[in-house]
Symmetry: C2
Subunit: 467 residues, 2 copies
């Protein structure tokens, strides 16, 4: 099955097809380079061409033409994802949804939107039109698209209140186009949503999303400092368990993350200060102050509604989730990260154990999240990278201790997730993408069903590095 | 200290003073009669006069005049509370806040309101002006006042999401007038709120409240039926633990409560059906249906947005909290109730144990609530009343098993609560009500500091029954 690139390009030439090599190179990359492991393996990947559909009809046309000519299609939004989820493993077509950015409708509690809309623009639209905003979003809010977030994300800012994207009620409806001789348009709700959410566009292309909204508040961005890491965890978790206090994020940073990597926070903290980043609804600020007054080991060093800091530190969520890693990388290119889940109710003991295990090598960065109604922590630990072997060992030590790892140094859905196939995604891929052309190389169970996960999966059809 | 009623009435005669005996009798009663124990003790209580202030200045004047003439002042809203909290134990003045019902300001997330505003009117105002509504309210929403709810309530409809009124952030500010020679006007926030919230007006009169609001949705009222009581508990608790599903209430009724006492539900359930009452945001309805589809033992028998029931059952919350007791009382005057707290994480086992202990005598009615971030149940058990001794025994058996009882068959703050004095309320009463004239008889620690709680407290200065 050799792709006929030329035929596909010719057939699509009336659309917005990008042929500039520099632009193709840019559109062939996402934020895979957060991982030194993926950087070594994916840096060379390149699409043959990029096409930017303007509407669903053009998406259908692109999928139909590429199906006919056996051309792989890797769909992308802004390309801010990690895990190499938008990298064209076999070249071919990158379908860029930048033009499909319209908000179709919004009302309090609900929005209908196209996938290419930036999270930031979507929020601005919803706040202006109905006083609501997204329940959750990635820390790349300013540059990422809503379609990319749902296709690749699992949660983020807002998960401290609303749980994960996969939880019931956090996605209402997805409209999806299949890649067949005659592409079909399907509407998924309820149980069916799991087929295509967090599937990296491997089994269908999302052309419309219906999402729940939450009330928009003039969130107060806060930093709390403490010499005591356990007190910092207790601050984030305790606040998240205050049912009357509205939070959008509660992040914990072990010392010296704030001093070393948070440039505008650095002058206000010491080397040994742990930091808590918070977004608190204005009507909950009295409650926050009361909560902190009960814990003299905590100091509210910054609140955006009342500050004398000469330099505005900006949005607190742009210190959290994977922006922490990004900030650290700017100061120390050898830094990478892990995604860890510390399950309730033993999360704090497990975190302390991991903290004690890797002094100077792993720095704790935690995000308070709700999982099945209970507050616990997701870790996006900062790791001083030495070798792939040591990274794998660090992961193994975490797993042996009972921490779940979502390995961001893998490019397949299975290895970045729970290390086993998702039958709902797999069976829908067999139906919706019979030729296996949608974002190839990302679903092991489709390509190599008997894979045993003993080592990193090496997609056999990956475009080889040029000599 | 003999009250000079005549002098006080004369001094207040330019205000709206009620002298009609029938109206005084009505204003001297609340919903104490839910309890046969309180009915036997409080039915005779009668104020000497009723006064209805129009504003805070008149409140100050009334308190100053009554202080001067040693006249007790019992403040009331609509008088829908239980626990006899608005009953004039020593007669004197009942101050009725019916005219102080203005909404001062509202914005998304926050309202400022006078205490006499009905919860229903407050919600209507907020929904119309800013698209928000109260986070929580009592099932007597249609007739109760916001001041009475905060002065006497602990939570209610909405507590499944927002926890209790006493939780940080669920009250922002209270403005309070003291009863001294020169009454003071104080503003309480943060830690100070605990002095006067849930204090029955024993140590200050609330003249203004600032409360947080939640977004208003077109809540879908639902009933779910099941033959399996454990499945009904799991339904309410499981939904409350779904972080992406927005609930306003999740009530559980053991069979045959629905068949026997819920007139408009009765034709749609069998004698052996347990019932779950739910209010679900419209954007969460798909999630509800998905949740129920996973549990075939549960049947969605009613949803207000799509129903063929010939008779509208009305608002689901008017079946819950203490409306359950009210509905049962209409069919069986021998019914009374208990307020029980089943603490996480052993709540379900404890409930099943209590359910097995009192067959035919105690019927389980549960409300899912959040306590310190965890979902568990409050019980408002329906009790077939025989004698006070048996009622006390039932309470003791609950307590011995580990269930906490908030005894609604007592009229003091301590006995209806945690059986010990609240030092914050007591010390503020000593300061704000030095003559002990505010709602006398309701704070044991003020009147009888060495009380040992071995038996029901009998306020020595209660107006005696006439022979």
């Amino acid at each position: 099955m050799t792709p006929n690139i030329t035929a596909a390009k010719t057939a699509l030439s009336h659309l917005d097809v990008e042929e500039n090599p520099h632009a193709i190179r840019t559109a062939s990359r996402d934020f895979f380079w957060y991982s030194p492991v993926l950087k070594a393996r994916m840096d060379h990947l390149l699409a043959d061409f990029v096409v930017r559909p303007r509407n669903e009809a053009e998406v259908i046309e692109i999928l139909k033409v590429c199906y006919e000519h056996d051309v792989p299609v890797t769909t992308r939004g802004a390309g801010t994802g990690n895990y190499g989820q938008a990298m064209p493993m076999r070249g071919g077509c990158v379908m860029h949804l930048v033009y499909m950015n319209q908000v179709t409708s919004c009302e309090p509690g609900r929005v209908v939107v196209q996938p290419g809309c930036l999270l930031k623009d979507l929020d601005a639209h919803c706040i202006a039109h109905c006083g609501h905003e997204l329940r959750m979003f990635s820390s790349t809010w300013a540059t990422a698209t809503v379609g990319g977030f749902v296709a690749g994300g699992s949660g983020g800012v807002g998960s401290v209140t609303w749980g994960q994207l996969r939880d019931l009620g956090n996605i209402i409806r997805l409209r999806v186009v299949t890649m067949e001789a005659e592409p079909r348009v399907l509407e998924f709700r309820g149980e069916e949503l799991a087929r295509v959410s967090h599937a990296y566009g491997t089994n269908g292309i999302i052309t419309e999303l219906e999402l729940p909204l939450a009330p928009a508040y003039d969130w107060v961005h806060c930093f709390v400092a403490t010499k005591d890491f356990a007190a910092a965890m207790d601050c984030a978790e305790g606040l998240a368990n205050e049912d009357g206090v509205l939070l959008k994020i509660a992040s914990v940073y072990e010392a010296p993350v704030a001093k070393s990597y948070f440039q505008r926070v650095s002058p206000h903290v010491a080397e040994d200060d742990a930091l808590v980043g918070l977004m608190v609804a204005p009507q909950s600020m009295d409650a926050l102050v009361t909560f902190l007054t009960r814990r003299p080991e905590l100091s509210l060093i910054y609140r955006s509604d009342d500050t004398d800091w000469p330099r505005n530190p900006g949005l607190v969520f742009e210190y959290g989730w994977n922006h922490t890693t990004l900030r650290a990388l700017k100061f120390d290119p050898s830094i990478t990260y892990l995604q860890v889940r510390y399950a309730y109710p033993d999360h704090n003991a497990l975190i302390e154990k991991m903290r004690a295990t890797f002094p100077g090598e792993v720095l704790q960065h935690l995000e308070a999240i709700r999982v099945n109604g209970k507050v616990s922590f997701a870790g996006l630990s900062l790791v001083k990278f030495t070798t792939e072997e040591r990274l794998d060992e660090i992961i193994r030590i975490h797993e042996d201790a009972g921490a779940q790892i979502f390995n961001p140094h893998r490019y397949t859905l299975e290895e970045g997730g729970r290390q086993h196939s998702d039958q709902r995604q797999l069976s829908f891929k067999k139906e919706a993408d019979p030729k296996g052309l949608l974002n190839p190389g990302k679903m092991i169970s489709f390509d190599t069903p008997d894979w045993d996960y003993a080592k990193i999966y090496d997609y056999p059809s990956m475009t080889p590095k040029e000599a």
